[in-house]
Amino acid sequence: MKSFNGKVLFLDRSDINTDEIIPARYLTEITKEALTPYLLEDLELAGFDAKRDIAPAGAVMTRANFGCGSSREHAPWAFEMNAMNIVIGESFARIFKQNMFNCGMMAVELAPAVIDDLMARFSGRETELSTDLATGVFRFTAGDESLEVPFEISEFDRALVEAGGWVGYADTHY
């Protein structure tokens, strides 16, 4: 099972599409590894600097409709290759969310008010996420401030995470 812990990258915008996550000009690559340097290259977000912000991060927090647009699984792969296996947001585009769990990664929804609160408390600060999948609790820590937030994922999504993705699951079930 993948790790769902690490520094949090705050992307405080809705409707971030998969063209921004990984532009089509890199879809000619046939290995996941080759996507590593291009993650979020075309993201339009004030204060965001891909070179500075991506490398240390292990998790993403964002707003609504993350991953809309193209079905390209290159988007989850680009996160995966940068050791970012979890995106937390208000909502996700269907295909992106499915692709994340299909890769044994997580796309977890929290209520907008909870995201508001977390953004207000932690955005702009060096924040660490630790995920307890068994109990369904996120712990956010920055300096001496720490906050626990419960989360839910479906039984099926949990099974995919535990199986390391949909290929492993489907191969044993169908």
């Binding site: 599409n17 921004e20 879809l27 809309c68 909502s91 585009a93 890769c103 949909w166 191969d171 169908y174």
Partner: protein, 430 residues
Amino acid sequence: MGKTIAEKIFESHLVDNPSGDIQVIRLDSVFCHEITTPVAITDLQARGMDRVFDPSKIKAVIDHVTPAKDSKTAMQGKIVREWALRHGIIDFFDIGDNGVCHALFPEKGFVRPGYTIIMGDSHTCTHGAFGAFAAGVGTTDLEVGILKGVCAFHAPQTMKVVITGELVPGVYAKDVILDVIGRLGVNGATNRVIEFTGPVVDAMSMESRMTLCNMAIEAGGTCGICAPDMTTVDYLWPFIQDEFKTKEAALEAYSTFAADVDAEYTDELVVDVAGLVPMATFGYKPDQVKPVAELSGERVDQVYIGSCTNGRIEDLRVAAAVLEGKHVHPSVRGVLSPATPTIYKMALKEGLIEIFMDAGFCVTNPTCGACLGMSNGVLAEGEVCASTTNRNFNGRMGKGGMVHLMSPASAAATALTGVITNSHIFTGEA
């Protein structure tokens, strides 16, 4: 309680209900192209599972970058080509026979009412125009589809979009769907199927219905669906005439997938198009939509007519009618990409290609290329394109480029003037 079209299709294809509302369904077809399939192929090989569930149910095409533009795209084509050969995938379309997947596969008769289809391409929702459930998926879903012939979805929830009134001349399916997306927003249909219904849809050709369903994903929809009717049967007749004695018999069989009168919908949107005018996008999201008239005068550098949204024969006819006997503005590059070889040949026979070329358009081979900024018409930084495609995301057609989505009529008129223009000044309509 009655059922929607998607619920009926799922019920007839259900394989498993692993937990909650997850339904694993049997697939009638898995469509593949050279951008999202190679990684599935190499992963299956690495796992020692280089198999396909049924070669007759897999349809593959090289369409996104064709002919190959460099060594990397050549390799993507090679991987798919060799895989198709290795597994006896007969319906594989390469140079000379290839075209934009969502125009090519319907044209080949591969989509039928009640079918379940996946493809590693978000615009797979197009095929719902035939009363099928067709969804864009990622490479892992595609990989499992290729291997096992199944895919997992949440039980389908459906939103109904009723289109009433009558379209005025000069207003097309593209204007309707842009207007609908403007009302729904880019995630207004997320996790839902959109059933398009009403007299305007009933009166539409299959081409127009495909334009409508094609952009369901731009509102977040899993699939756009139109109920099968005699228009659907007429389109499919060359492919199904051995299967059914009469068209009426075919329609009766397909009608088993029609929605029940008491089917339950999550939402219903009624759009009266009587007053609808030509529409276009103005920002970087497909729900940022305005009447073309309000954008008139905005300068463009390129006009692109093509794609799975609007590269079909009726689109070319509409654009050619605007362009006939005229020439594009000197500051504009006009690019036409007929979506399939059949469309290209029809356009040649009908004299449309000559009209485009006399007007100063470059006519490319069928390909997705420019729509996603991969080839055959990529924009430079700061450039603006009026395009008949489906996405206006920042940089979509080239880093730093801007895209205004619109109908083929509006795009053609814009090509003539160099600024966003309503086609009625050339045709007297709308």
